[in-house]
Structure formats: structure tokens, C-alpha cells
């Protein structure tokens, strides 16, 4: 059958197929569009808009209060009445309106006319100017000029007319206005009244419009239509400069987070979050508004001063979100955005609420809240600015704690954190400083290299033999915390739980004592004798006095001791039982004496400063403070019987274990090992004769005493015992002949010297070393095992150990650990370990985590803290079970060797993990994890890095040094801040007394500019009828006295001395004012930053020395460094920091000399000026300039003794009058001090010209109490007194300036005027009729 159309195209069938497929396609299209429209963010945005509209409505309601409504109604009535009265005179109004309209029209016409004519005038002017330019003949120019003049005349006429018309118009308007004035006034008042509500209504109309606009807005939310600029849309922050790494390339970042988090940057007045985050009681937005708590994603970001707002340092438009939070910025649903839960409990909640799954396809999910601060260090490489900032305070405490802990425990000794890559900064830099001169030179000569800055955190072992014994070293190394629970030294041995879990760990039990003995042996064998210093032979140290000196001379600034339980400082070790560790008897005493007296003798890089503990004589008594302190610290506490240690107990080493361990370590074949370890065996030198590595301990060594042809050598061993004789071979290990072997020609065993047979082409230089092999001894084996152990455990990362100067850190570097591929972590069998064991008490970590989640879900936790801790553990456990970095790190720090669980069969003893256990608690571990996870080595483009310049930079660098040298132990850096409530009129401005110089106030305000003490907060005090609301103010000052405990509660008052200039409304309080703070209205007392030791010392001295007078005790203690920058000259401070001389005679201790580099001193000197906004680094002293002195000469011409004396001469006399000398030594005269315990002695005045800034000095001389409220220095030249009428005109104010200028010109005047004793003339006139 031939094919027909009907057969090929069965039209009916075709139609059916077409119809079905068309419907199907339509259905799919609709489904597709519906699915596309069904974005999870749409309802969120809608709810967000509703929330906004509702809030606005509430604000409108709030604004339309009764007062508003009454007022509005009243105005409307008044307006209506006014309208009515206008209606009564409607014809008059109409007439005037018509008049005005006509006048206005005529004015418009005249104005247009004039304007038109001015155009012609412009043309005429231009034509004339062109004529001038083209040098037209004079006649032609004259014609053009005429034309211009004619135009000018016309314009003048028209201008006059316009003016007249305008007057007419204004008069008509005035007439009309007079008639409608009343009504217009009411309208204006009404508009003003309604302006706020009108604005709110307008904004509500935009979010939730009514009427037609409302319909339009609803329409715009419909599918398809919403594609045309709907208000519901994805909000995208485009950040082309903040690239993100995707796979193997980096691309621009775009964040859509604000699609849902639409209120993140909304603030209200006072820079407060408009939608503060919280957990409202229900889902209803009414409740949210009532409670002013908003859940995510509707909440505002915290700290608007710091984040997102345009005025903050991190505006959202520039930074976006994911640069800090991580996660998938392009994701627009909860899971896709790669949110990450803070703990497993939250995970379960999110699963229920959002159907949350972890997004495995996005490599870097958001930081959970606990690690949020990790990202700060991407840009803040110096970290410290996150701890203290004058504007933002402590902004990231957790990451800073992690950073501090890493520095404190010396993690960088093994794990370098290199902050540079190819010379570019990539993150925080925490590395050891160059250890050798060569390393230092290399860094200095290559601009792309940056030197590390860290010192080794442990003590040096270079002279350990003078300090302690073999027994002690073993006792300590085995378990440091056994002796000193607060030590930072981690535990390396006895960490075998993971092996013991399956039948004990015999290997470790056998080998560890040998390793410990080997380490101690090596350290003592390599110890070099220390050049000890000793007290006078006849000196009898006094331990009791030593205790007092220990307390007062500053030791407690860094150390603690059980005799002083109020001090918990732990910058240096706790010293209660230090007597037990030092060599017994005189040897230990001598070492300690040397150490406290001159620490750098023991270790040139020590942080222990020189405290200037020089001997002195007090009355008849000769005192050597270092000896007394050493005697105190070496006196055994007979009460303390808890310590089971004796220097005399020498551990015996298991000989076979020693051989086995050596065998394990020797890098030789089994046969060679046997040969070496056989009786009389020798370590084989290879063909070149070099010995690399720790095996150097198994050969004998010597060195060239003097170079040249007649080279002689000194052997460090008994040459005969080694069998060294003619024809023996020597192998070079250092110098130019390294790696060559030479034959001995002769040797002199008596002197231990020898000569070589070979004629050397390159004669060795003095100090070149050689080796020779010989029979290996027991001591050599111990040294070898010790050295191997030190190498293996990396002890030299923290300690200076002879033989390890060049050694590299043993651990993995951490600078990119936050991005370490999780597949490269080796969790081994950790899950098994944690499932069955894991907790310190042997219980299961798995069970702990499960229990935590269960209790959280059942809401069973007793305290928030407990919940946080347990859920934190559960989080880390969960992370570890998913091979997460955070969990890995957590367990590594908790139980560093636990990853060896069930690995005994495939790991040799020396392949076991080496990471020691640090005494860290779980919160500290979390802080460290926060820091390490932030080490991503992926800095954003360089303009995002925090690179402060000028003072901000110097402040950051200075803060690092302040931490490094623990300056804040002794010195208050920021004064305590007190907040309390004051009633109205309670504060009265500090009176200016007749003794004050009004001119001085101005200077004071320059140096100590007023700060407003208003906080905007209030406090309620009292009860019942006495209840009153006080406004809270804050001020900075020092405690003067605590309340008398015997008084009734309502009578108790705290007293403080104000140190700053404080404004509270119209009241101005000057420094030195006594602040009375009733206990009932005290809101808070924020302690000082720094100065704990000083405050402790003040309390002590009040009891022991100053009979309760706090001011005198402060004068004997380290001074607060308040506004130090405006006080001292920067170059002086630089020199003082490097070599601090004695300034104050009153203090019971001295500023110690720190082991500080000139660069560091410079940075620190600049720091103080930078903090106070003072100019630096150089100061120009105007008062020394001839122009200034000449000006003063002229200014005071009349009073300068009839012109016979110069200004400076009289100033010098004033300085040398019988006033300053009462307390200060000056100009070759020493102050008379009869009783050094009681008489106050001020600083010597010879150094003032280099030390003090002239402006500060002036205020100080005017009124010292304004500068340092506790000072004994009086106002020496009060206004109104006439002490030296013949000097500088007898004017006290001029005399103060004169004294200042004499001090500034001190060295010049001592040259020109010499030692001067000025005695004022005896007054001849009778004293003024007085009160007697």
C-alpha cells in the first residue's frame, strides 16, 4: 500500500500529540516558574518589610500621643476659625489677591524685559573687548564704546523699573499677608507639628503603601512580573577587590547575604542597632517589637561603630560579609550559604527549622560563632590592635588570647608562623629571632626577608651546671608540673595512656628514663662555667630583710611567691620553692646572687631585667640587697614536706636500655651497629671523615689552638686513651679543610697537643675543629642519647642549648594551617580512642558529647557556663569525627599523643609522636584554635590590610613591647574608671582660689583637655519617698580612701582623686579634685590597666612606712604613666629606656634596665607621645633660642633691676633662691636630708632640661597637684605672695616662667652664672597689720 498523507500524517493523531505536548510544556513551564519563584528568601523579605512597616506604624502611634492630638486639634480649630473670619471679608481678600496677581505679573514682565536687555549689553561689551583685542582704529572703538554706553543706559532704566515693580508686588503681598497672617500662622504651626509624623507616614507608605500603590506593590510580587524591578529581589554586594579562591583560581567575591539579613546595617540615633539581636518569646513580630529583641536574619549586626556602617572601619559596601564570616556568599538559601552551627545542639535545631545539611561542596563554610574572631587576623597581622584600641577597645578578646597563649607557651619554638611569603605579608608573624650572627646578617642583607622577633621562652642551659644538679634536671624534665604547677614547660614523658589502654607500654617505661638521664647528662656535659659574682666576703646576708626587699624592689612585678598571696603575677616563674632546685649550699646561693644582680651574665637574651641591686649603707648598716634576696629565696621552707626530691639521689641508668636505645638511633646497618656497640667499638668515620648529626657525640673532638704552618692542636680528650699517635688520622669538621683527613706527625700527650704530618695547602685557623674516633665510653653513649632526644623533642625551640644554634624548629609550620587540607590530617584511630577513652578520668569523650547534646535539648544545664563548656566539647568531638581541623587541633592540644592509639605495632619507638602536653584548659585550647584557624595565609588585597601609619602605628608597635617587657606590671597605663550617680547640683566647679594663677588654667587645658563625664545613663537610689534618679557620670582617677566599714551603709563613701579635667554640663572639675562617691550610687569601678604591683606596693607601704598616708606611699612606688607623652621629651625617654638612671630618690625601687634594643627603645619612646597626641620624635625647646631670651629681656626691661641684669640671670637667681633647694639638689648643691626615711627629696634638677617638656613643666610649677594629685611638691609661687620682691619684678607668675626657663637653660646658666646662692633681702618694713 502506497504511502499517503493520511498514512504519514494522521492529522488527528498529530493534533492529539501536539495538544498533549503543548499542555505538558505549559505545565512544565508553570511548574518551572513556580519553582523558580518559590525561593526561600522571598517570605523572609516579605516578613522583613512587614516588620519595618509595623515598627514605623508603632513609631507613628507613639508620635501621635495625646499631647500631639490635642495640639493638632487645637490648631485645626484655630485654622478653621481663621478661615471663617477670612470668608467674612471675602471680597476684600479677592480684591487684594487680584491686586497682587496683577502686580506680580507686571513684576514678571519687567524682570524679563530687563533680562533681555542685559543680553544686548553683554553683546555690546563683548564687541568692544573684541575690538580692543583686534586693535581696531580709535574711531571704531569709540563707536563701539558709544553703543555699549547706550545699552548700559537702557538697562539702568529697566532695572529701575523692575525694582519699582518688585516694590509694588511686595506691598501687595504684604497687604494680602496682613489679612491672612493669622491663618497662615496656624497652617505653618500645623505643618511643623506634623513634620515628624508626616515623614514617618511617607516612609510607611513606601514600605506598605495603601490604595493604588498598594495594589501595584502586591502585583509586583507576582511571578514573572517580579522580574521587573520588584521590591522583592536579591541584594548583592559586589566586591571585585576582595577576591575569593575557588578551586585553583581566584575570582571576584559577591555576597548575597543581605537578601535575607536585610537589617544588618540599620542603626538608630546614638549609633545603636535599630534591630538588636535577641531571642524574643514568640514568632510574632509584635512581640519582637515589644521586647526589642529580633532574631536572625532580621537583627542588626552588633557593634555598628565597628562594623558595616559607613562611618565604621568596615563598611558593608566595601567589605561585604564573607571576607569575615566565610561561607558561600552567592548562596541564597540556608544550606547553600554554608551556614555553620556552633554546636551539635544548634545543628539539630537547624535541621528541624531549616532542613539544614552541611554543605560539603563548599570548602570553607562560615566560621561557627565560637571561631568568628579568627578572621580578624587575615588583615590585622599585628593582632595587638584587637586587644587595645583607643576608639574600639578590646574588639576580639578570644583571638587575642590565642595569640598571647602561643607567644606565652612558645609554640613558635617548634611551629613557625611565618607571616611573609616572597616578602609580602600574609598573616601574623611569630618566629624565633635570628639565633646566630650569620642568620642575622642574611636577614639584614635581603630586603625580602624579615627577621623573627621572638625570644626563646625557656631559660638558657649554657651555664646550667652552675645552677643545678643532674638529679634535679632529671626530676624536673620528667614532669615539670610536679614541682611547679604553674609552669609553662610542657610534659614530654609519661604520656603513654594510649598504649597502656592495651596492656601497658614497656618500651616507654624502659627508654624514657634513659632519655631523661641522657638529656641531663648532655646539658651538664656541655655547660660552660659562669663567671659568678659574690657578695663581700664578710657580708652576712639577712633573709628576713631579703623578704622585705623581695617585696619592695620589684621582684613581685613579674614573680609570685606564697609569702605574698595577693600577688598572682605569672610573667616569670613562681618562686616559692626555688631553693629546692638550685645547687645546695653556697653554690646555689652564688648562682642566685649572680642571677638577680646581673641576669645578662647568665643569658644575654634574658627578659629578666637588671634591677640595680647595688649595695648601699643605711645609717650604720651595710646592705647588699641581692645577697639578702638570694638568702631569702634559698632558705628552705621546713613546713613544706610535699616535695620528694634530693640532689643527692642519682638515678642509675639501665645499661642495656641505653645500648638498645643507641642501637635504635644509630643510622647504620645492623652489623655496623653491633660493631659500634661492642666493647671498645668505635664510630666509623666515612671516607671524607665528616660526622653529621648527633653522632658527633660518639667521636672525639679537638680544636686548633693557633693557626699557621706550625699548627698545634688541643684535644678535648685523653689522647692516649683514644690511641692517638703518629700516623693516626684526623678528620676536619670545620674550617676550610672540612672533610679532609690528615695524618698526625707527632703528639705530646702531656700537653694534649699534636702536629700534623701533611703539608697543608690551607693551614687551619685557630678554632677549627677536628674529630678522631676511639673507643666509645658510657658517658659518650649517654651524651648521644641525650642529644638525640633533644633533637627529637626540639628542646632547643625554647632553650638556648650548646650545640643547637643552627637547629631548625621541628614542628609543622602554622601560617596556613587554617586552610590545611583536611585529607592531610592524620586522625588515625582517634575515633576509637575517644569512643572508649578520651577523658582525663578514662571515660568516653563520645559519651560526654552525646550527654551534652541531650542535656541541652532537655534544658538540664544548671549554668550557662557549664552548657557552653560541654557543648563546646561536643562541637569539637563532632568536628573531629568529621575530620575537621578544629577537632583535630583540640584533641592534639588536649592529649597530644592520643593519635598514637593502636599504632604501636607499626611505629618504632623513635617514630612516635613527640608533641608534649601543655597545661592548657579547654577554654584556652579553644582560644588557640581560634587563632590557628585564622592563619589562612590568604590576605585580601593590600589596601584591606590594617597598616596604620604615624601615631596609630607607633601605638600598635608600642603595645607589643609593653607586653613583651611587662611594663604594665608596675606602671598604670590607663587609670581606673569610676562610674557613679550624681544628683542635680551635687557637683560644683573646682574653685579657682586667690592662690591660683588664672593664666595657668589655659595651659592646663592644653595639656589635659577636658573630657565630658556624662554617660547618658541613670541609676535609681534610695527607697520609698527617698527614691531618686541620678544621672551617671564617669571619671578617671586614683583611689584615695575606702569607706569606713563601721559606718551605716548609707553613710559609706569612697574617695578618689580626679586625674583628668572633667566637664559635666556646666561644671568643670580640675585634676586633683577629691571625688566623693557614695557607696549606694557607685555603679562600677573598672580597674586600672596595669600597675597591679604598684597598687599592691602602695597598700603595703601605707602600713609599713608612711603611717597610712597614701600620697606618700604613691611617691615611693612606680608612678602611673598618665599623659607621660606630653610630659617627657622623647629623645630623653629613648635614652632612659636603654639606660635608666635614678630620677626619684623617694621610690623604694628603681626602674630596671631591660634587655632592650635601641630600636625597641625608640618605638616605646614614640609610643607614649603617640598615645597622648604629643609631637615626636624631636622636640624643639623655644626657651633656649636667643630670640625668645631677647624677647623676655625686652618684655621685662622695666623690672630687671633697672636693666642691669638680664632675664636669665634673674631667673637663675629665682631657681637658686631658698625654695627649690629645700627638696631638690641643684647647681652643685645637695639637698639637706637629715632623715632619709622621712624627709621628702625630689628629683635632682640638673636633668630637667633634657627630660621634661617646657609646657608640662610650666603647669607643674604653677600647680603640681593638677598634674599629679598625690605629689608633695607644693605650689611654690602662689599668686598674691611676694617672696622675692627684687626678682623679676616680684611677680609670682613671671617667676614661675623664669624658673622654667632657667631649668630649660640649665647647662648654659651653670656655665655662665656658675654656682649661685641667692638670699632674698631681709624685709625692712614691719609686717602688714595682721591678725595678731
Amino acid at each position: 500500500m502506497p504511502a499517503t498523507d493520511k498514512f504519514v500524517h494522521d492529522l488527528k493523531k498529530v493534533h492529539v500529540v501536539f495538544a498533549v505536548s503543548a499542555f505538558a510544556l505549559l505545565a512544565v513551564t508553570i511548574w518551572m516558574m513556580a519553582a523558580d519563584h518559590n525561593d526561600p528568601w522571598r517570605p523572609i523579605q516579605k516578613k522583613g518589610f512587614n516588620l519595618d512597616a509595623e515598627r514605623t506604624s508603632r513609631e507613628i502611634d507613639l508620635a501621635k500621643d495625646d499631647e500631639f492630638l490635642t495640639k493638632q486639634q487645637q490648631l485645626e480649630q484655630q485654622r478653621a476659625a481663621a478661615d471663617d473670619s477670612l470668608e467674612a471679608i471675602q471680597t476684600q481678600v479677592d480684591d487684594l489677591t487680584a491686586q497682587f496677581d496683577e502686580a506680580d505679573r507686571l513684576f514678571g514682565v519687567a524682570e524679563a524685559h530687563e533680562k533681555e536687555r542685559r543680553e544686548y549689553l553683554g553683546v555690546a561689551r563683548a564687541n568692544y573687548d573684541i575690538g580692543v583685542r583686534d586693535n581696531l582704529p580709535a574711531t571704531e572703538l569709540e563707536r563701539l564704546k558709544q553703543k555699549f554706553n547706550a545699552e548700559q543706559d537702557q538697562v539702568d532704566v529697566l532695572a529701575l523699573q523692575t525694582e519699582r515693580r518688585q516694590t509694588d508686588r511686595n506691598e501687595a503681598l504684604q497687604a494680602l499677608g496682613d489679612l491672612t497672617k493669622e491663618r497662615d500662622g496656624f497652617v505653618a504651626q500645623l505643618t511643623e507639628l506634623q513634620s515628624e509624623t508626616a515623614a514617618l507616614e511617607k516612609s510607611r507608605q513606601q514600605i506598605a503603601p495603601t490604595g493604588l500603590s498598594g495594589i501595584k506593590r502586591t502585583l509586583m510580587e507576582w511571578p514573572i512580573i517580579d522580574g521587573f524591578n520588584s521590591h522583592l529581589r536579591i541584594h548583592q554586594d559586589w566586591l571585585p577587590d576582595l577576591e575569593q579562591v575557588l578551586g585553583m583560581t581566584s575570582t571576584a567575591r559577591f555576597d548575597r547575604c543581605r537578601t535575607c539579613h536585610m537589617n544588618v546595617d540599620k542603626i538608630e540615633s546614638g549609633n545603636l542597632p535599630a534591630y538588636p539581636f535577641g531571642h524574643p518569646s514568640s514568632e510574632s513580630i509584635d512581640d519582637w517589637i515589644d521586647e526589642n529583641k529580633y532574631p536572625h536574619p532580621y537583627a542588626t549586626h552588633p557593634r555598628p561603630d565597628l562594623y558595616l556602617t559607613a562611618s565604621s572601619p568596615h563598611p558593608v559596601g566595601t567589605f561585604g560579609c564573607t571576607i569575615c564570616h566565610e561561607g558561600q556568599g552567592s548562596g541564597t538559601d540556608f544550606t547553600n550559604a554554608a551556614h555553620y552551627f556552633n554546636d551539635p545542639h544548634e545543628y539539630h535545631e537547624w535541621q528541624d527549622e531549616h532542613g539544614f545539611k552541611t554543605n560539603h561542596f563548599w570548602e570553607y563554610p562560615m566560621y561557627p560563632k565560637r571561631f568568628q574572631e579568627a578572621s580578624c587576623i587575615k588583615c590585622h597581622h599585628r593582632v595587638i590592635e584587637l586587644a587595645t584600641n583607643p576608639e574600639f577597645g578590646e574588639s576580639a578578646p578570644k583571638v587575642v588570647e590565642g595569640y598571647d597563649l602561643i607567644k606565652r607557651y612558645g609554640c613558635f619554638g617548634c611551629h613557625e608562623i611565618n607571616g611573609y611569603k616572597n616578602g609580602d605579608p600574609i598573616g601574623p608573624d611569630i618566629r624565633l629571632e635570628p639565633q646566630t650572627e650569620e642568620q642575622k646578617q642574611k636577614v639584614d642583607s635581603d630586603p625580602s626577608l624579615f627577621a623573627g622577633e621572638m625570644r626563646k621562652v625557656g631559660p638558657s642551659f649554657r651555664h646550667v651546671g652552675d645552677k643545678t644538679s643532674d638529679a634535679w634536671l632529671q626530676f624536673w624534665t620528667e614532669e615539670p608540673m610536679r614541682f611547679r604547677p604553674t609552669t609553662r614547660m610542657p610534659q614530654f614523658f609519661g604520656l603513654s595512656d594510649q598504649f597502656k589502654a592495651h596492656g601497658g607500654d614497656e618500651t616507654a617505661e624502659t627508654f624514657e628514663p634513659v632519655e631523661i638521664a641522657g638529656i641531663a647528662h648532655y646539658l651538664l656535659d656541655k655547660s660552660e662555667p659562669l663567671d659568678l659574682v659574690h657578695p663581700d666576703e664578710n657580708y652576712e646576708p639577712n633573709a628576713e630583710r631579703g623578704k622585705e626587699l623581695f617585696a619592695t624592689r620589684g621582684c613581685l612585678g613579674c614573680h609570685s611567691h606564697k609569702d605574698f598571696p595577693d600577688i598572682t603575677e605569672d610573667f616569670g616563674p613562681e618562686l616559692s620553692r626555688v631553693y629546692a632546685k638550685l645547687l645546695p649550699g653556697k653554690a646555689g646561693f652564688d648562682w642566685l646572687y649572680t642571677w638577680v644582680k646581673d641576669p645578662m651574665r647568665h643569658h644575654p637574651r634574658t627578659k629578666m631585667p637588671n634591677l640595680f641591686l647595688e649595695p648601699y649603707t643605711l645609717g650604720e648598716v651595710h646592705i647588699d640587697p641581692a645577697a639578702d634576696i638570694a638568702a631569702y629565696l634559698t632558705t628552705k621552707d621546713e613546713q613544706d614536706t610535699s616535695l620528694e626530691f634530693s640532689h643527692a639521689t642519682k638515678n642509675t641508668v639501665d645499661e642495656s636500655a641505653l645500648l638498645d636505645l643507641t642501637r635504635l638511633h644509630l643510622p647504620l646497618s645492623a652489623d655496623d651497629k653491633n660493631a659500634v656497640l661492642a666493647d671498645g667499638g668505635q664510630f666509623p668515620l666515612d671516607a671524607s671523615g665528616t660526622v653529621k648529626g648527633d653522632e658527633v657525640e660518639l667521636v672525639f673532638r679537638g680544636s686548633a689552638v693557633a693557626g699557621g704552618d706550625q699548627t698545634t692542636f688541643k684535644a678535648d680528650f685523653d689522647a692516649t686513651a683514644v690511641g692517638l699517635g703518629p700516623n693516626s688520622e684526623l678528620a676536619w669538621t670545620s674550617g676550610k679543610n672540612r672533610g679532609r683527613k690528615y695524618k698526625v706527625a707527632s703528639f705530646n700527650s702531656g700537653a694534649g697537643s699534636l702536629t700534623l704530618a701533611d703539608a697543608l695547602n690551607e693551614p687551619p685557623a685557630a678554632g677549627d675543629t677536628f674529630v678522631v674516633n676511639g673507643p666509645i665510653t658510657h658517658d659518650m653513649l649517654l651524651n648521644y642519647v641525650g642529644r638525640r632526644s633533644i633533637s627529637r623533642f626540639g628542646c632547643y625551640g625554647c632553650h638556648d642549648i650548646p650545640g643547637f644554634k643552627e637547629a631548625r624548629p621541628i614542628g609543622t609550620t602554622l601560617q596556613a594551617w587554617g586552610r590545611k587540607e583536611t585529607s592531610k590530617l592524620a586522625p588515625e584511630h582517634i575515633e576509637h580512642w575517644l569512643h572508649h577513652h578520651g577523658e582525663p578520668d578514662g571515660s568516653s569523650t563520645h559519651d560526654r558529647a552525646q550527654e551534652a547534646v541531650r542535656r541541652a535539648e532537655a534544658d538540664e544545664f544548671a549554668t550557662e557556663e557549664d552548657e557552653q563548656n560541654e557543648l563546646s566539647a561536643a562541637y569539637f568531638y563532632e568536628s573531629l569525627s568529621h575530620h575537621g581541623r578544629a577537632g583535630f587541633l583540640w584533641q592534639k592540644l588536649r592529649q597530644p599523643r592520643s593519635y598514637d592509639y593502636e599504632k604501636a605495632d607499626t611505629k618504632r619507638y623513635d617514630e612516635r609522636l613527640r608533641m608534649p602536653k601543655f597545661p592548657l584548659d579547654e577554654q584556652q585550647i579553644e582560644a588557640i584554635a581560634t587563632f590557628v584557624l585564622g592563619l589562612v595565609a590568604e590576605p585580601p588585597s593590600s589596601e584591606y590590610l590594617y597598616k596604620p601609619e604615624g601615631p596609630a602605628h607607633d601605638r600598635v608597635e608600642g603595645e607589643l613591647l609593653i607586653n613583651k617587657y611587662n611594663c604594665a606590671a608596675c606602671h598604670i597605663l590607663d587609670l581606673p574608671e569610676v562610674e557613679y550617680g550624681v544628683g542635680p547640683d551635687e557637683l560644683v566647679s573646682t574653685p579657682i582660689t586667690p592662690a591660683d594663677h588664672p593664666a595657668a588654667i589655659e595651659k592646663l587645658l592644653e595639656l589635659n583637655p577636658p573630657r565630658s563625664g556624662k554617660t547618658g545613663k541613670t541609676i535609681e537610689v534610695g527607697e520609698g519617698d527617698d527614691k531618686q534618679t541620678l544621672s551617671v557620670i564617669n571619671f578617671h582617677g586614683l583611689l584615695f580612701q575606702r569607706p569606713d566599714a563601721e559606718l551605716d551603709l548609707e553613710d559609706r563613701e569612697h574617695y578618689f582623686d580626679l586625674w583628668e579635667t572633667l566637664d559635666v554640663d556646666d561644671v568643670r572639675l580640675l585634676p586633683g579634685s577629691r571625688m566623693i562617691v557614695p557607696e549606694a550610687s557607685l555603679v562600677s569601678e573598672k580597674p586600672a590597666r596595669g600597675g597591679k604591683f604598684a597598687e599592691w606596693l602602695v597598700e603595703r607601704l601605707m602600713k609599713t612606712t608612711t603611717q597610712g598616708t597614701r600620697a606618700l606611699a604613691w611617691q615611693k612606688s612606680p608612678p602611673p604613666l598618665y599623659r607621660e607623652g606630653v610630659k617627657v621629651q622623647t629623645p630623653w625617654l629613648y635614652e632612659f629606656l636603654l639606660d635608666p638612671g635614678r630620677i626619684r630618690h623617694e621610690t623604694v625601687l628603681r626602674m630596671p634596665k631591660f634587655n632592650m634594643s635601641p630600636d625597641e627603645a625608640k618605638t616605646l619612646a614614640n609610643y607614649f607621645a603617640a598615645v597622648d597626641g604629643a609631637g615626636y620624635p624631636y622636640q624643639h625647646i623655644d626657651q633656649r633660642e636667643p630670640q625668645y631670651i631677647e624677647m623676655k629681656n625686652r618684655e621685662l626691661e622695666d623690672v630687671l633691676a633697672g636693666g642691669n641684669e638680664k632675664y636669665l640671670t634673674q631667673s637663675w637667681k629665682t631657681l637658686n633662691a631658698p625654695l627649690c633647694i629645700k627638696c631638690h639638689s641643684l647647681a652643685g648643691r645637695t639637698v639637706k636630708v637629715a632623715d632619709p626615711k622621712k624627709d621628702v627629696r625630689g628629683p635632682d634638677l640638673d636633668g630637667i632640661s633634657r627630660r621634661i617638656r617646657p609646657d608640662w613643666l610650666l603647669v607643674w610649677l604653677f600647680k603640681p597637684q593638677w598634674v599629679t594629685p598625690y605629689t608633695s611638691m607644693p605650689a611654690n609661687f602662689p599668686a598674691g605672695q611676694d617672696q622675692f620682691p627684687d626678682l623679676l619684678g616680684g611677680n609670682a607668675s613671671d617667676q614661675i616662667v623664669g624658673v622654667r626657663d632657667a631649668l630649660m637653660n640649665y647647662y648654659r646658666l651653670i656655665e655662665t652664672e656658675g654656682v649661685t646662692i641667692y638670699e632674698p633681702p631681709t624685709p625692712t618694713a614691719a609686717p602688714p597689720a595682721g591678725e595678731e
Binding site: 560644683v988 573646682t990 574653685p991 582660689t993 586667690p994 592662690a995 584615695f1040 580612701q1041 569606713d1044 563601721e1046 559606718l1047 563613701e1053 574617695y1055 586633683g1072 579634685s1073 577629691r1074 566623693i1076 598616708t1109 600620697a1111 631658698p1218 625654695l1219 629645700k1222 627638696c1223 639637706k1232 636630708v1233 637629715a1234 632623715d1235 622621712k1238 624627709d1239 621628702v1240 603640681p1264 597637684q1265 594629685p1269 605629689t1271 608633695s1272 611638691m1273 607644693p1274 605650689a1275 611654690n1276 609661687f1277 602662689p1278 598674691g1280 605672695q1281 611676694d1282 617672696q1283 632674698p1320 631681709t1322 624685709p1323 609686717p1327 602688714p1328 595682721g1330 591678725e1331 595678731e1332
Partner: protein, 289 residues
């Protein structure tokens, strides 16, 4: 134990004579040695109220005003105190300061046991007290031979203190109050105009005034916002007039060890003078026997 017995017997004795010394105010053993003798003629009319619910110094107030007069006495052998500066000592400004011996004024007792320089005062204005303005006439606080004169001074808040000097050297007069701001000014040699110190707030206890130039110079000031305070004179006597009738709690304070009695309860009768002798043993004055 012995102390307790003593305390109770003392208290009973005191209560028995209707004077409430020691009933409520004693804390610890220090106060227990206080014995109080009372002139019988003035005890009439004393109403011993419970002392609770009191406001300020006056526990209960009746109409009228009376005077409190008394004498502070020392029981025991008067110790001889070493001079603070002996004549001719090699000290600062020796010409003037060591011209004669400078005595230790920490305990000044006359021949029959009267103790000078003891502060007797109310800490708060009693209810019903007449309002009086402080005198505008300055109180003179002098310095002579490197000693402060007077050694102990009560002054009204608002009444200026003129600090002057009779020495031909400069002194610096440094007040160390608790509730007022400190003043630390030089007084030029021999100045009879000197400078003014103004106390604007009442103090709870007397405070030290020192000269930082001459470390032994010491005086005590007490500023009060009412007139009910006195310092004992050379005979140990004092008088406080115009007290509203009723019970008052007086502070008896001496520089040796502070509070001699913290709450000396005295009942004042209208238009009468209440007289009282107050005796203290040696230890109360902080002086080693």
C-alpha cells in the same frame, strides 16, 4: 574572757548611771577600759532612750538648748616623749627649726592629767539645732619655730582658714583631708597674709596637715558643717554650747590611735550644762608605756 566580763561590768555600771557610754558603741576590747564619771548635779533629767531610729547626732530631741562641757583625762603615768627635733640638730633650716627643741605633740598632758588636742564633736547636725552661719572672720593657722599653731583645730565649713607664718623661712602647708580637696601651697617667710584654705565639705574625722619641707611638722584639722565640735585645751577641757536638748552621740578622737570613743552618748537638758569627765588609759593614746 576577762575582757568580756569587764566589758559587761563597765556597761552595766554606765547604764546604771543612766549614761549610755559603751552600751551600743563599743566594739572589741579597746573601748572597755573607758570609765566615765558624772557630776551628780547635772544628771537629773537625762532620758535614756533606746538609741534606735536616731537621725544624726541627736537620738531624741526635746525642746530647748543646753551645753556640753567636759574634760578628757589621762589615767596612768605620763610617758616622756622624745623631742622631735633637738636644739642645734643638723637639719634643713636648722637656724630656725632647731633653734629650740621641738616637742612631740602627739600626747600633751598637763600636770593633773588633762589631755590637750582631743577632738570632741558630732558627726552630723543634730535635729532641732539652731541654724547659724559660720563666721566670715578667718581662723589663723600659724607656723612658728617649725611648729604648727594650733596643733589641733576645729573649723566650720565656710569659715576661711588663713595660713600664715612667723618663721623667716618658707613652709609648705599641705592639708590631707578626706572629703575636701587637698591644698598644698607655699607660705613665704614671715608672711602674715599667707593664703586661705577653704573647707567646703564636712569631714568625718580630723585629718593631718603637714609641711613636706619639714617632715616632723604636723597638725590636725577638722572641718564641720555645724558648730558642735571642740578641741580640748591645755587642761583637757572643752565646751560645746547650744546643743538641742536630748541625746547625742559624740565622737572623741585623738591622733594617737584615732577614735577614743566612737559613740559617746550624752543627754543634754534644756538650759543646763551637762558636765562630764572622760578618762582613758595609756594604751588608748597609741603611746608605748
Amino acid at each position: 574572757m576577762r575582757n568580756n566580763v569587764r566589758m559587761w561590768s563597765t556597761a552595766l555600771l554606765a547604764c546604771g548611771t543612766m549614761v549610755l557610754v559603751g552600751c551600743g558603741g563599743n566594739r572589741g576590747g579597746a573601748d572597755t577600759e573607758t570609765t566615765v564619771t558624772l557630776k551628780p548635779s547635772t544628771s537629773a533629767g537625762g532620758t535614756a532612750s533606746g538609741g534606735s531610729g536616731d537621725n544624726g547626732g541627736a537620738a531624741s530631741v526635746a525642746e530647748g538648748f543646753g551645753t556640753f562641757k567636759g574634760r578628757v583625762r589621762f589615767q596612768g603615768t605620763v610617758p616622756s616623749l622624745a623631742v622631735k627635733v633637738s636644739q642645734g640638730a643638723a637639719i634643713k633650716d636648722a637656724d630656725i627649726c632647731a633653734a629650740v627643741d621641738v616637742p612631740d605633740e602627739s600626747l600633751v598632758v598637763n600636770s593633773d592629767g588633762g589631755v590637750a588636742n582631743v577632738f570632741v564633736y558630732l558627726q552630723k547636725v543634730p535635729k532641732g539645732a539652731k541654724k547659724t552661719e559660720p563666721s566670715e572672720e578667718p581662723v589663723i593657722f600659724d607656723q612658728k619655730g617649725c611648729r604648727f599653731i594650733p596643733h589641733a583645730l576645729v573649723v566650720r565649713v565656710g569659715q576661711p582658714v588663713r595660713v600664715v607664718s612667723g618663721d623667716q623661712i618658707a613652709h609648705n602647708t599641705h592639708t590631707l583631708p578626706t572629703r575636701n580637696s587637698e591644698s598644698n601651697n607655699i607660705v613665704e617667710r614671715g608672711s602674715r597674709t599667707g593664703f586661705m584654705v577653704n573647707y567646703t565639705k564636712t569631714e568625718n574625722v580630723p585629718f593631718r596637715v603637714i609641711c613636706d619641707f619639714h617632715s616632723w611638722m604636723l597638725a590636725y584639722h577638722l572641718a564641720l558643717d555645724h558648730p558642735f565640735g571642740a578641741v580640748t585645751d591645755a587642761n583637757g577641757e572643752f565646751e560645746i554650747p547650744d546643743l538641742p536638748a536630748g541625746e547625742h552621740k559624740f565622737v572623741v578622737w585623738h591622733e594617737g590611735s584615732g577614735f577614743l570613743t566612737r559613740n559617746l552618748k550624752i543627754t543634754i537638758t534644756a538650759d543646763q550644762t551637762t558636765e562630764q569627765k572622760i578618762d582613758y588609759p595609756l594604751e588608748k593614746f597609741g603611746v608605748a608605756p
